[in-house]
Every structure is written in C-alpha cells, then in structure tokens.
C-alpha cells in the first residue's frame, strides 16, 4: 500500500540491531582482547527485476530498504600492566594463534596465558598457544621471560617462539570465547609486551552516543510508521465519508 511504511520498518529493525551491537561492545568493555564491532547501514533500492542498474538513480524503485553491515575494528586496546610473566599483550596488527586438541586454529588477542600441568602454554580455555611451526610451546623452568618478538626463555633456555600472524582484515570474524577466525596473511610485525594484558578497544563515549542515536532514530522510524497509519485511517474514515 504505502511503500514508505516498509522503508521505515526496515529502518527501525536495523536500529534495534544497531543497539544489539552497541550493547555487545558495552558488555565486553572489560573483556581482555575484545575488538569492538562497528555497525553501519545504508539505504538500498529494490528494483523490480533490474539488478544491474542498482547503482544508477532509482526512479523505478518499487521499494527501498535499509541493509546493515558490521565490521570489526582491530585497533589496539588499552594495555594494562599485571606483572604476571605469562600475560602477554600484543601491539600492532598481530594475533596469537591457538588450537584445541585436534581442532581448528583460531586467533586471539586475549593474551592471558598460563601453563598446563605438562608445562604447555595455554589460553584461558585450555587451548594451546602455537609457535611459528604451529606446534605447542612447552615451557619447563621457573624464570620465564618473553621477548618482544615472541621468543620464550625459561631459566635462560630458548623454549620456542610464539607465532604472531597478520589476518586478512576482510575475513576476520568473531567466534566467541575471545577467538577470531580469518585467513592468515603472513607474519605480523607486531610486538609482544610481557606482564601486560590488552584490554578491549571499546570506547565508552562512542558507545553511549551509539545507544542514544540508535534509540532516537528508532523512535523517528516508529513515528513515521504511526503517521502512515494515521494517513490510512483518514483515507478510510474521512475520504470515504462522502
């Protein structure tokens, strides 16, 4: 009937999705290694059977709709000193590679590592941290030192070198559990800081503004829908009165 009402509807739905996103960032404000998701939306025309003309002007558009897309902001988070020798923060574009036994390799920026009872370097959920040859790193000794390039020394002996990979930015995806999936794109030039943890890169001011704008734009879209409703009501009751 009114195509505008559907445009407003998709807009409202998208704003609610945007709030979901902002809330997710906020909930993870204190999650080590979390990378915020940014959300953007744009208006697309839906052309009736004319797909190749989508980038031209849209006089023939029968309807329009909002589409959203999310992307991961991989900028560095704030580094917090902890003093724990196996807390490793990564500066730059690198990711740590971790792997569960017989599982896929995932990537993480949450460098809160510890040793398993066999002395293997593991992350918070027990997945093994990989070295440059994709093998687990076994650390035996009490004095542990990690160099900026990822080389681990235990009591002065070289125990291996932690792998730091660059990921193709367009393939990076959140997997939950502080993990990311993605396609490796070579070694990273990033540096490892020992005794520190990288916190999330969530900026509270930006997220609060995100909440406000999502909420208000949602209300505007609702207003438009209500207006269309009033219009329809008038059409039915007043015009038909003749």
């Amino acid at each position: 009937m009114y195509k505008g009402i559907y445009v407003a509807m998709t807009g409202a739905m998208l704003r609610s999705q945007e709030l979901d996103n902002v809330t997710q960032n906020m909930a993870n404000a204190n999650t080590a290694g979390y990378k915020r998701t940014s959300f953007s939306s744009r208006l697309y025309p839906l052309l009736e059977g004319v797909t190749d003309k989508q980038n031209t002007v849209y006089p023939n558009a029968k309807a329009m709709a909002y589409f959203g897309q999310s992307s991961i902001d991989t900028t560095d988070g704030v580094v917090q000193m902890t003093g724990n020798p196996l807390d490793l923060a990564c500066r730059g574009d690198g990711f740590f590679a971790v792997q569960g036994v017989g599982a896929n390799i995932y990537y993480t920026r949450n460098g809160s590592f510890s040793r398993s009872k066999d002395g293997i370097l593991v992350d918070g959920t027990g997945q093994q941290v990989l070295d440059t040859a994709n093998k687990p790193i076994r650390i035996i000794g009490s004095q542990i030192q990690v160099e900026a390039d990822g080389t681990v020394y235990a009591d002065g002996n070289n125990s291996g070198k932690i792998k730091l990979v660059k990921l193709d930015p367009s393939t990076v995806q959140h997997m939950g559990n502080s993990l990311f999936s993605g396609t490796e794109a070579g070694t990273s030039g990033g540096q490892i800081l020992e005794g520190s943890i990288e916190m999330s890169n969530v900026n509270p001011i930006r997220e609060m503004v995100g909440i406000i704008s999502a909420l208000r734009e949602f209300e505007v879209a609702q207003k438009v829908i209500t207006n269309f409703d009033n219009l329809a009501e008038k059409t039915v009751t007043e015009i038909a009165k003749v």
């Binding site: 709030l19 906020m26 909930a27 404000a29 995806q173």
Partner: protein
C-alpha cells in the same frame, strides 16, 4: 531488541563479578600470604545474521556481513602469584619464602594443603603448626628445652638447648611448587589445594632446583596493589552503569513499539 536486553544483563553480571573479586582483594590487603585475583572474561557466541561474501538481494556480494554478539561470560578468576611485600616481625617462627615455593601443611583429613603464609607457632607437643593448628609436612618437633630456634635459608631448623653451646638439627622444611600455580584451588584460611590443572606438586629443599630461600623473622604480606584495585573498581562500576543504560534503552525501544498502535 530482546537480544540487547540480555546482552546488557550479561554485561552487568560480569561487571558485578569483577567488583566481587576486587572487593575480596581489597578486603585481604593485609592478609599474610594472600595472592590477588583477577576476573577474566570472554565474549559469548555470535549470531550470524548475514555472512560476508554471501550474495545480496541485488545480486552483488556482501563485503562484510552482520554478526551480533550475545554478551560476555566470566571464564576464570586468575590468581597472580607475584611476591608480596616482606614485613619484619622478629618472631623466630615467622618465615618467608623469597622466591618460588609453598609451605606444605597436613590437614586433619590427611590431604596436604599449600600456603605462602609463614605464620607458624608451636602446639603443646612442640610441633610446628600454622594458626589453625595444621602441622608442617613433613612434621618438625621442637624439644621443650630448646631456648633458641634458628631457621637457615635452606630450611634447616637448628635449636640451642640450655647448657649446650653447639646447635643441633631437628629437621628441615620441604617446599612444594607447581608448574601452573594459577590452577591451584583456594580454600580459604590462606590455603591452596593441588588440582588436576595445577599439576602434581614438585617438592624440594629451599634454595635448590628453583625453590626460593627461607628468611626467618619475616612475613609475606598480600600482593594486592590497592591503587590498581581502586582503578579497576572504577572501571567495573562505570561499565556496570553503562550496561544498565543499554537495558534502559532497550526498554524504551520496546515501549515506543508498544505505543505505536493506540
């Protein structure tokens, strides 16, 4: 919309846990042998609304998809086993481990507990016990006629008996250490228990094979850094506030939706 409500709720719960852990650290700032904890979080699973690379409605490829996360979950309270400050007490049975290692205590149920708190005293039979009466493992008994007790850096305990000039050895303290001390279970009373994650205890004499030395007349205070804790407290509280704002925003959205149709 309902998603954001629950996402924010998980955020509030996580920040609450962080405040709980920080409060426990601050409460134990003067507890001998206490090791500070840190709440650790991970993001929850993601809902894939649209995959990147999927064809869009207009036939083109979507450059980046839509992933909506569902909140945060606590994964661990990690103990930090750095050395605390030393306090000089002058009490001969106040002991400190300078470096790696735990004192071993035998609990009434026969299991062994581990502690960093070296506040020992003697029971009526002359056994060296902790403030709860748990004896050192292996047990060391001081004869009643001993006048001076000396604990050497390597754990040897010598006594001087009245009327004698040469000290005599009554026993040696054995320490334990773990490959993954963060995997130890805290059971209160300054005690830790070994778990499958910590690995089996490696025992040995102080000042050997990576074990720390023993110093007599000192105690190890908690390793809580009050400034860090307060900074973390502020962060946690503000994050809690902001998550509650997200709950309010979700609520308001539902309200306007409901008000749409009179």
């Amino acid at each position: 919309m309902i998603r954001s409500l629950f996402t924010a709720a998980s955020g509030m719960e996580a920040q609450q846990l962080m405040v709980d852990v920080i409060s426990n650290n601050i409460a134990n700032v003067n507890t001998i042998g206490y090791k500070s904890g840190r709440a650790e979080f991970q993001d929850l699973l993601y809902q894939q609304l649209r995959s990147p690379g999927a064809p869009s409605e207009t036939g083109m490829q979507v450059p980046s998809g839509i992933q909506v996360g569902l909140g945060v979950k606590p994964v661990a309270v990690q103990k930090l086993f750095s050395q605390g400050d030393f306090i000089n007490t002058g009490n001969p049975l106040d002991l400190v481990i300078e470096g790696d290692g735990f004192f071993q205590l035998s609990r009434p149920d026969g299991t062994t507990a581990y502690t960093k708190a070296g506040t020992f005293s003697l029971d009526k039979n002359g056994n060296i016990v902790d403030p709860d009466g748990y004896p050192l493992e292996p047990p060391i008994t001081i004869p009643t006629d001993a006048t001076t007790i000396t604990v050497a850096f390597n754990g040897d305990i010598n006594i001087l008996v009245a009327g004698q000039t040469a000290p005599s050895l009554v026993g040696s303290i054995t320490l334990a250490r773990f490959i993954n001390p963060a995997g130890l279970q805290s059971v209160g009373k300054n005690l830790f228990l070994a778990t499958d994650a910590s690995g089996d205890p490696i025992t040995g004499a102080p000042d050997s094979q990576g074990f720390g030395d023993i110093s007599q007349g000192f105690l190890e205070n908690s390793n809580v850094n009050i400034v860090t804790e307060l900074a973390n407290l502020i962060t946690a509280q503000r994050a809690f506030d902001m998550n509650s704002k997200a709950v309010q925003a979700s609520d308001q959205m539902l309200q306007t939706t409901a008000a749409m149709k009179a």
